[in-house]
């Protein structure tokens, strides 16, 4: 089974000054799994993703990616990453972004040229992909981001809020693409606030709550208990909702 483990986190902790953002997080993701990372704002999802990408260093714990220590930068070549709020370089076009990212990922030029046209066409950016990204809508930026994440045919995809900013039609298309990727054996880690998307796309859910790993299990089971907690108005966010009747 060990050779099938794509990501393994053991007793992971992260604290910023006096604030503990992640406490004792342990989980494993196996090859071909589609895992959702769910949690309220400030639960530690983004920090966990940043640790996996080498942007933030964990305070304690052990992370292994493809059975190797995560500190090796070259390992990240096998990851495709879509950031939550894509800004990128507004001076570039989507084609130029893909070419640059492909070169950084050591892909041959001919391969980049071939794949960039295919991927941008699949994401509806074949024509407008030549324009500079400063003129793109949020949805177009999100699609450009997804294109660069898929360019090198990665084994492991980390998608931070992939549906954010997309119109309903693009969301549906993206869901189809993600399902296809999952079927083709790619491992997906999707951070999302939408339980509907999680239900549609993922087979397993990891719930982070107040810096701890609260739940980890099959989607239906975890979502059921999560929705139950919502209904019982159990506060799960750091900021509780106030009263509405005084406003209207």
């Amino acid at each position: 089974m060990t050779e099938n483990i794509v990501l393994s986190c053991s007793k992971l902790c992260k604290s910023f000054a006096t604030k503990n953002v992640l406490k004792d997080i342990s989980f494993e993701i196996y090859s071909g799994e589609s895992v959702a990372l769910v949690g309220a704002n400030g639960a530690g999802k983004s920090t966990l993703i940043k640790i996996l990408l080498g942007l933030v260093k964990s305070t304690k714990g052990d992370i292994r990616l493809f059975d190797k220590d995560i500190s090796t930068p070259q390992l990240r070549q096998r990851i495709g990453y879509l950031p939550e709020i894509p800004g990128y370089w507004p001076e570039l076009s989507a084609y130029e972004l893909l070419e640059y990212m492909g070169r950084l990922r050591q892909l041959p030029i001919a391969e980049i040229k071939k794949r960039q046209v295919k991927i941008l066409a699949a994401l509806g950016l074949k024509e407008r992909g030549h324009q500079r990204m400063s003129g793109y809508s949020k949805g177009m930026l999100q699609r450009s981001g997804l294109a660069q994440a898929l360019l090198h045919n990665p084994d492991f995809l980390i998608l931070d809020e992939p549906m954010s900013g997309l119109d309903p039609r693009a969301q549906e298309k993206l869901k189809i693409i993600l399902k296809e990727l999952s079927k083709s054996g790619k491992t997906l880690l999707i951070s999302s606030h939408s339980l509907e998307d999680v239900k549609n796309l993922c087979s397993r859910v990891i719930v982070l709550e107040k810096s701890y790993l609260k739940d980890d299990g099959p989607t239906a089971e975890v979502l059921k208990s999560l929705i139950e907690r919502y209904r019982n108005s159990e506060p799960w966010d750091e900021d509780q909702l106030g009263e509405w009747h005084d406003i209207f």
């Binding site: 940043k50 260093k57 070549q77």
Partner: protein
């Protein structure tokens, strides 16, 4: 990736990042605006030299090299101190690091990209000055002109890493101000040393501060040695061995500042 050593991987990524930063700056129109600024200011220098009665050639070169020097440093302060903050804000840093680029490559590539662009702009301005000098003043271009130009480039590289280093601790504007203050201090190191040689000073209550200043001025790069502008227009130059030594010193300070920046950057949560 197979068979590629870590050093080759570092070099390849650094080259790509340098090229990208160069390209981005070109797209941001900074290069064109600086080019136009150089052209206009050098023409003003030319007019000023033309209307002067004595030593027009020296006046032209004095002003022209002064403009190149100040513009280079002004731009390098601005561009290098805002590099990290800008990339973090746009999330493009996340994207670059997620491809497996090391922080060492990111730092070297981006700072070198800024430096290469500024050096090419300075080179264009320098060639333009030579052109004007030959056409209008029939003045000789001597070794001192070349030495002065290359020392400006060497100083720019040191200042580029220094500005980036300060930006790791402070906001861009504060990093720029701090870099400017340090640069002024380093350009007056000989004067400071001369003042500090006075034994009377050390009897003052603030002698400890003076001692610290004296020590600092010996440790830090004395940039006033790099400033050859006062010699331009005279039939003199510095010895090539001194020139090589100064280039070597600037390379050492560059590596030192790169290493210090990297130490902090590696520990920094991005």
């Amino acid at each position: 990736m197979s068979g590629m050593t870590s050093f080759n991987y570092f070099l390849q990524n650094t080259y790509l990042l340098t090229k990208m930063r160069f390209f981005l700056l070109l797209r941001q129109k900074i290069a064109w605006m600086t080019g136009v600024f150089y052209f206009c200011s050098l023409m003003i220098c030319f007019v000023m030299a033309q209307v002067s009665f004595v030593n027009a050639h020296k006046i032209f070169w004095d002003f022209a090299m002064g403009i190149i020097f100040v513009s280079q440093l002004g731009l390098v302060f601005y561009l290098c101190s805002s590099l990290l903050h800008e990339e973090k804000q746009k999330r493009s840093l996340d994207l670059t690091i997620s491809t497996g680029v090391s922080r060492a490559s990111w730092l070297a590539g981006n700072v070198l990209g800024v430096w290469v662009l500024l050096s090419l702009l300075a080179l264009a301005a320098f060639v333009f000055c030579i052109f004007i000098s030959f056409l209008s003043f029939e003045g000789q271009i001597t070794a001192i002109h070349l030495q002065s130009f290359f020392l400006i480039l060497a100083e720019t590289l040191v200042v580029a890493f220094m500005s980036f280093f300060f930006s790791l601790f402070f906001r861009p504007l504060l990093a720029q101000l701090l870099s400017l203050c340090v640069l002024i201090f380093l350009h007056s190191s000989q004067n400071i040393n001369r003042i500090l040689e006075d034994p009377m000073l050390f009897r003052l209550p603030s002698a400890k501060i003076l001692l610290l200043l004296s020590g600092l001025s010996k440790l830090l790069p004395p940039f006033d040695w790099f400033d050859l502008k006062p010699l331009l227009g005279y039939e003199s130059s510095i010895a090539w061995s001194t020139f090589t030594l100064l280039l070597l010193l600037s390379a050492i300070w560059t590596f030192l500042l790169y290493g210090l920046s990297l130490l902090k950057l590696k520990d920094l949560d991005l």
